[in-house]
C-alpha cells in the first residue's frame, strides 16, 4: 500500500558499517514510509543481513558513516533495547536458545517494556495470558511452547513462529524480518507469511530480507531492492523479484565491474 504522502518511518542515508576491520555496508540508501512492504534481496555476502543487524543495534557492528533517521530521530544513538521499545523489531534468521528463561515470562517482560514506552499500563500475568493466547492464533502456535525455555529445543519452524508471535505482541512500527523463510517447510512458510500479512497495516512498515522469491509469492512487496557489495544496486517493484528468480544474479557482477566496486565478502 503505497501513499507518497504517508509519513516516513525509516530513512537510511549513505550508511556504512564494518565488523572488526571488514567494511560491509558501503553507502546504503533506503526510505521506508508507513504502510509499505519492502524486500531486500541479494546473494550471500551482499550485506543484507548486516543491514538488519545494524538497524537493530548489534554491538559487533560499527557504523562508520551515514545516518539513520527513525521517525525523524537519530536511530543510531539509541541502545538496542530502546530501539525495540520504540517499535523497531528484528525477526532473527537464527533465533538463539536461552535455557532456563521461561518463554511466557520473557514475552511478558518484552511486551511490558514496549507498553511502558507507549505510556500504557503494564500487563499482569493474568491479563498477559489472555493477550498471548489470542495472539497465538496469528501463528497457530501450540500453547505448550509458552511453558518451555525460550526457544529451548524448538525446531527451526517453531523458532520462526515464536519470532512472529513476538512481533504480534510488540506491534512494531518497523518490522525487519531477516531470512524469516530460511529453514521453513512449505506449511510453516504459509503460516509465518500469513502472520506477517495479518500484522502489516497502514500505520506500520515491513522490511523483508530474503534470498528467495518463494516468500514473496506469499507476501507481496511494494518495493524490491537488490543488494550487492554493501549497497543497494537496483530498486524496482515486485516484478524485479520475479526477474531475479528467472535470470539469477549474474548481471550483478557486470554492474559491479562497471561501477568498479569489489564485492563484499561477508554479510
Amino acid at each position: 500500500m503505497i501513499r507518497s504522502d504517508a509519513p516516513v518511518l525509516l530513512e537510511i542515508n549513505d550508511l556504512c558499517a564494518r565488523v572488526e576491520d571488514q567494511p560491509i555496508l558501503k553507502g546504503v540508501n533506503l526510505t521506508i514510509r508507513s504502510g509499505e512492504i519492502h524486500a531486500v534481496m541479494g546473494r550471500n555476502g551482499s550485506g543484507k543481513s548486516t543491514l538488519s543487524k545494524v538497524l537493530a543495534g548489534h554491538p559487533a557492528y560499527t557504523v562508520t558513516a551515514g545516518s539513520v533517521l527513525y521517525r525523524g530521530e537519530n536511530l543510531l544513538e539509541l541502545a538496542p533495547e530502546q530501539r525495540a521499545r520504540t517499535g523497531l523489531f528484528l525477526g532473527f534468521q537464527y533465533p538463539v536458545e536461552i535455557a532456563g528463561v521461561n518463554n511466557l515470562e520473557f514475552l511478558r517482560v518484552a511486551t511490558n517494556a514496549r507498553r511502558t514506552e507507549q505510556g500504557l499500563d503494564e500487563l499482569d500475568t493474568f491479563a498477559f495470558e489472555d493477550l498471548v493466547r489470542e495472539r497465538l492464533g496469528v501463528v497457530q502456535m501450540d500453547p505448550a511452547f509458552l511453558e518451555r525455555g525460550l526457544n529451548e529445543g524448538f525446531s527451526g519452524g517453531e523458532k520462526k513462529r515464536n519470532e512472529i508471535l513476538q512481533m504480534a505482541l510488540l506491534e512494531p512500527l518497523v518490522a525487519i524480518l531477516d531470512e524469516t523463510d530460511s529453514g521453513l517447510d512449505i506449511d510453516a512458510l504459509r503460516i509465518v507469511a500469513g502472520g506477517v500479512n495479518q500484522l502489516a497495516g497502514p500505520d506500520n512498515a515491513t522490511l523483508l530480507v530474503t534470498h528467495y522469491q518463494r516468500l514473496l509469492d506469499l507476501i507481496t512487496p511494494d518495493y524490491v531492492h537488490v543488494m550487492a557489495a554493501g549497497r543497494i544496486l537496483r530498486t524496482g517493484g515486485k516484478d524485479l523479484a520475479l526477474e531475479l528468480e528467472r535470470d539469477g544474479y549474474d548481471w550483478v557482477d557486470q554492474e559491479l565491474a562497471r561501477l568498479g566496486a569489489e564485492p563484499a565478502e561477508v554479510g
Binding site: 554491538p59 544513538e77 541502545a79 525495540a84 532473527f92 532456563g100 528463561v101 517482560v109 514496549r114
Partner: protein, 480 residues
C-alpha cells in the same frame, strides 16, 4: 556506541561494601605461638576445657601441612604475618545497644543490617560480628521465651558452658584438616544456637560477619544444635573492606540434629573478591559440616558464594540417623581472577538416608570455578539414595569450569545418580533479549536467575531477591 557506554558504566560500579570503619581497635601482635593461643583464651576469660581444646588443636596444627589438592593457586600464606585477635575498643559487654559505639551501629546500618530497636529487620534475629568479636545480638529476650539460645559463641562459652563442651568439636574434630585445626586453636567469635526439644524457632536467625582490620584473620566458629523435633532456619552474610593485601578467613561451622530435628543453613557470601587484576581479596578456607545424629532428621545447606579471591569450602552432611536427609544447594559465582573450589560431602551411614545435591557454578572473566563433591555410601546405608546435579555456566571465553564428582559405595543396595551440564552466555543471547526491549542488566539477571532458580527457591524469601540482585551486580561488565 550506546551499548558500550552502558557496559562501561556498569563495569565501573565499585564493590559497595569496601569501606573501612575508622574505629580504635585493640590488636595483639602479629604471629602465632602457644602464647598467642593462651592470650586469646585469657582475653576471652575462657574456662579451662576450652583452653585445653585450643592448645590440643594448636599442637595438631603444627604437625599438619596445608592441603594442596584443590584446583587453586595462590602465593604461600605466611601464618606469622597475620594478627589473630582484633576487637573494636569499647567498654566490656554492653548492657544495651544504646551503649554500643555509634560508629559500629552505623557500619552495620550501611551494610543493610540495622541493629537498633526501631529499625530491626522484623522477624529476623541478628548477631553482628565485627573483626574478632560479636557486637550485638537482637531479639535475644524474645527468643529466650521459647527456650531458644542465640548468642555469640564467646558468651555461650561462659553462660552455657555445659552445652558448648558437649557439642564443640564433635562434628569437626580439631584434627579434621589444616584449616579446622587452625580455627580450633585461635577462633575468635561466631554464633551459638540451641533449639530445645520440640521447639520450632519462631524467627529466622542470622549472623553478619564483617572484617574491618587490614592484617587481621577472621576465625569464626559457629555451633548450632537442634534437639529432638526442633527446627531452625539460619542465615549468614559476610562482607569486608577493599584492601590490596589478602586476608585469611578460616571458619568452622558445626551443626547437630537429633531425632526429627531440622536445620536449614543459608549463606550469602560476599567477602571482598580482589580487583579485576586479582590484587587483594579474602582467602576463604571454610569447614562446614552437619551431623544428622537422629533418625528422620534433616540438614539443608544453601549457599550463594559470590565473593572472596579464593573459596575452599565443602559444606557436608554426615547422615547417621536412619531415614535422615541431607541437602546441598549451591550457587558459586566467580568473576575476574577469582578462584573457587567448592562442593559438598554426603556421607551416608544410616539406612534409607537420602541426599540431594544441586550445584550451579557461574564463571566469568578469567576466573576458575570447580565443583568438588563426594557421595559415600557406607556398609549400613541400605536403601540409601543420592541425586546430584552439577551445572556450569560460562560467561565469555576465558573462564574455566570443572566438575570433580567422587562416588564411593560399599553398599550394593544404595543408589547414586549424577547429572552434569555446561552452558555459555553469549553476546548473541544478550543481544536477542536487548532487541526485545529488555535492558542489558535485566537481560543478564534474567539469564542468571533462570540458571540458578532451583537454588534460589531454597533461600528464605527475604534473601532470594537480594541474592538475585547480588549476582547481577557481580556480573556487570563481564559480558558483551
Amino acid at each position: 556506541m550506546s551499548t558500550a557506554a552502558t557496559v562501561g558504566d556498569l563495569v565501573s560500579q565499585p564493590y559497595k561494601y569496601g569501606f573501612v570503619t575508622d574505629i580504635q581497635t585493640e590488636k595483639i601482635a602479629k604471629g602465632l605461638s602457644e602464647d598467642v593461643v593462651r592470650l586469646i583464651s585469657a582475653k576471652k576469660e575462657e574456662p579451662s576445657f576450652l583452653l585445653d581444646f585450643r592448645l590440643k588443636a594448636y599442637q595438631q596444627w603444627l604437625k599438619m601441612e596445608e592441603p594442596d589438592w584443590a584446583a587453586l593457586g595462590h602465593p604461600k600464606i605466611d601464618y606469622q604475618e597475620i594478627i589473630y585477635y582484633a576487637a573494636p575498643k569499647q567498654k566490656d559487654k554492653k548492657a544495651s545497644l544504646d551503649e554500643v559505639d555509634p560508629k559500629l551501629l552505623e557500619t552495620f546500618e550501611k551494610l543493610g543490617i540495622p541493629l537498633s530497636e526501631q529499625k530491626r529487620l522484623s522477624n529476623v534475629a541478628v548477631d553482628a560480628v565485627f573483626d574478632s568479636v560479636s557486637i550485638a545480638t537482637t531479639y535475644k529476650e524474645k527468643l529466650a521465651e521459647h527456650g531458644v539460645i542465640f548468642c555469640s559463641i564467646s558468651e555461650a562459652v561462659k553462660e552455657h558452658a555445659v552445652l558448648v563442651e558437649r557439642y564443640l568439636g564433635t562434628v569437626v574434630p580439631t584434627s579434621d584438616n589444616y584449616f579446622a585445626a587452625l580455627n580450633s586453636a585461635v577462633f575468635s567469635d561466631g554464633s551459638f544456637v540451641f533449639i530445645p526439644k520440640g521447639v520450632e524457632c519462631p524467627m529466622e536467625l542470622s549472623t553478619y560477619f564483617r572484617i574491618n582490620s587490614a592484617d587481621t584473620g577472621q576465625f569464626e566458629r559457629t555451633l548450632i544444635v537442634a534437639e529432638e523435633g526442633a527446627s531452625v532456619s539460619y542465615l549468614e552474610g559476610c562482607t569486608a573492606p577493599m584492601f590490596d593485601t589478602n586476608q585469611l578467613h578460616a571458619a568452622v561451622v558445626e551443626l547437630v540434629t537429633l531425632d526429627d530435628a531440622s536445620i536449614k543453613y543459608s549463606t550469602v557470601q560476599n567477602w571482598y573478591a580482589g580487583d579485576e587484576n586479582g590484587v587483594g581479596g579474602i582467602y576463604n578456607f571454610v569447614t562446614k559440616r552437619g551431623q544428622c545424629r537422629g533418625a528422620r532428621s534433616k540438614i539443608s545447606w544453601t549457599q550463594v558464594e559470590t565473593g572472596s579471591a579464593i573459596t575452599w569450602k565443602y559444606p557436608s552432611c554426615v547422615l547417621q540417623g536412619a531415614d535422615s536427609v541431607g541437602e546441598f544447594y549451591s550457587v558459586a559465582l566467580t568473576n575476574h581472577r577469582q578462584q573457587a573450589d567448592t562442593g559438598t560431602k554426603m556421607i551416608h551411614l544410616g539406612p534409607r538416608t537420602r541426599s540431594t545435591i544441586v550445584s550451579k557454578g557461574i564463571s566469568a572473566g578469567h576466573s576458575s570455578n570447580s565443583y568438588r563433591g563426594l557421595v559415600q555410601m557406607g556398609t549400613k546405608a541400605i536403601g540409601a539414595k543420592n541425586y546430584s546435579q552439577c551445572d556450569s555456566m560460562l560467561i565469555g571465553d576465558r573462564a574455566a569450569a570443572n566438575t570433580y564428582p567422587y562416588i564411593r559405595s560399599q553398599q550394593p543396595d544404595a543408589s547414586v545418580e549424577h547429572e552434569a551440564s555446561t552452558c555459555r552466555i553469549s553476546a548473541d543471547q544478550l543481544f536477542y533479549l536487548q532487541s526485545r526491549g529488555i535492558g542489558f542488566e535485566e537481560a543478564v539477571s534474567m539469564m542468571v536467575s533462570g540458571f540458578c532458580r532451583d537454588v534460589f527457591n531454597q533461600l528464605p524469601m527475604e534473601f532470594a531477591a537480594e541474592a538475585d540482585k547480588l549476582l547481577a551486580l557481580k556480573l556487570e561488565g563481564s559480558v558483551g
